[in-house]
């Protein structure tokens, strides 16, 4: 029986590959005596990677919104107004501040498809749900927004790869490195990983008629809406390609709302 290895990564974070030859070596059995850190040590054009906690890209956010007109237009295309933690503005900052690093970068990935790539031993495409956290994706057309890409960097479509996948797509068998080193079944299928938020939603919402509420320091609310019911007016929530969507016909969006004042307020009141 083929096994499936799914996973997820924090949304918005990005990884910068210089080349993929060391990555492809993971498909060879003789690599198992080394650690991944050693095997991939000259693969990246940038060692430190921006994650969701970075908020230094306010200028870049304004530029992205200006490129498409305003925040309202950006929301209509990408499902979110421009946010500092979103990957588009982070890429633009790297392209502007360190053009030599950007130039050397062959492929930019999110944390989720970086993980998929390591498991496969080859570049994996970005998943549409996680890709919705970049301010770069047209969430209703299921393709990159050229306007947004051009605002963020030269040749960005090539660096991200034109190819995008629907959530839960099986992409191939696990790299030999993991079979030899950890005893995985060599028929183990690798399914495209996605972002942490779409992943939690998918785990709890078996169908589009379920609303998921997660109570914590911040409270989050996740729900499904048909793309045809996309709200006209921008708001400070996010719309993503819904991970329940498996093909171009089921055009379902996932709503993600985050309320900052959650359990701390309740604690102060009730303890």
């Amino acid at each position: 029986m083929p096994l499936i290895y799914p996973g997820c990564g924090q949304q918005h974070g990005s990884v910068y590959w210089k080349n993929h030859s060391e990555l492809e070596n993971l498909k060879n059995a003789d690599s198992k005596s080394s650690s991944l850190v050693d095997l991939l040590q000259s693969s990246f054009s940038r060692i430190d990677c921006p994650i969701w906690m970075d908020s230094s890209t306010t200028d870049e956010c304004q530029l992205i919104e200006k490129t498409v007109g305003n925040a309202q237009n950006l929301f209509q295309i990408t499902g979110s107004k421009a946010y500092e933690r979103f990957t588009g503005s982070q890429i633009m900052k790297i392209a502007k501040k360190t053009p030599e690093v950007y130039q050397q970068t062959e492929r930019i990935q999110l944390i989720s498809n970086f993980l998929t790539s390591i498991l496969l031993g080859q570049y994996a495409p970005i998943d549409l749900s996680d890709g919705s956290g970049m301010n770069l994706l047209d969430i209703r057309q299921h393709q990159w927004s050229k306007q947004c890409l051009n605002a963020c960097g030269n040749d960005l479509e090539k660096k991200l790869s034109e190819k995008l996948v629907y959530p839960r797509t099986a992409l191939g068998t696990i790299a030999k490195y993991f079979v030899e080193k950890y005893g995985f079944n060599n028929q183990c299928q690798i399914v495209s990983c996605t972002g942490d938020n779409p992943s939690s939603y998918y785990a709890l919402a078996s169908d589009p008629k379920t609303v998921v509420i997660s109570l914590g320091t911040s409270d989050t609310v996740m729900a499904a809406i048909p793309a045809s019911a996309m709200p006209k007016e921008a708001f400070d929530g996010h719309l993503l390609v819904n991970p329940l969507t498996a093909n171009p016909e089921s055009n379902l969006l996932m709503l993600l709302l985050c309320f900052k004042n959650g359990s701390l307020v309740r604690e102060r009141m009730y303890s």
Partner: protein, 91 residues
Amino acid sequence: MSELIGKTSPSNNGFIGFFYDDPEILPQNIQGRFYFDSNDQQIDDLQAANKARAVLEGQCLAKRLYLKKANVDLTNNVDRIVITGKIISTV
């Protein structure tokens, strides 16, 4: 906590509270606590029992309001709500 909430009835006699102890995201850039009575008049504070219920109901209403704003049809298109996490941390 349940005991305190039990002293008031659902809809809290019209008392409503907004509890933005930290700068909120939804709605953006607002901080502080705001209380209103059944005549929609802003008031300085609520009694303990009303305040306890106001937290519960206020947080639920905010979620409902934003779901509605995003065109989620709670009446016709939602069969169930799955809740996970913690109401209060136990640390």
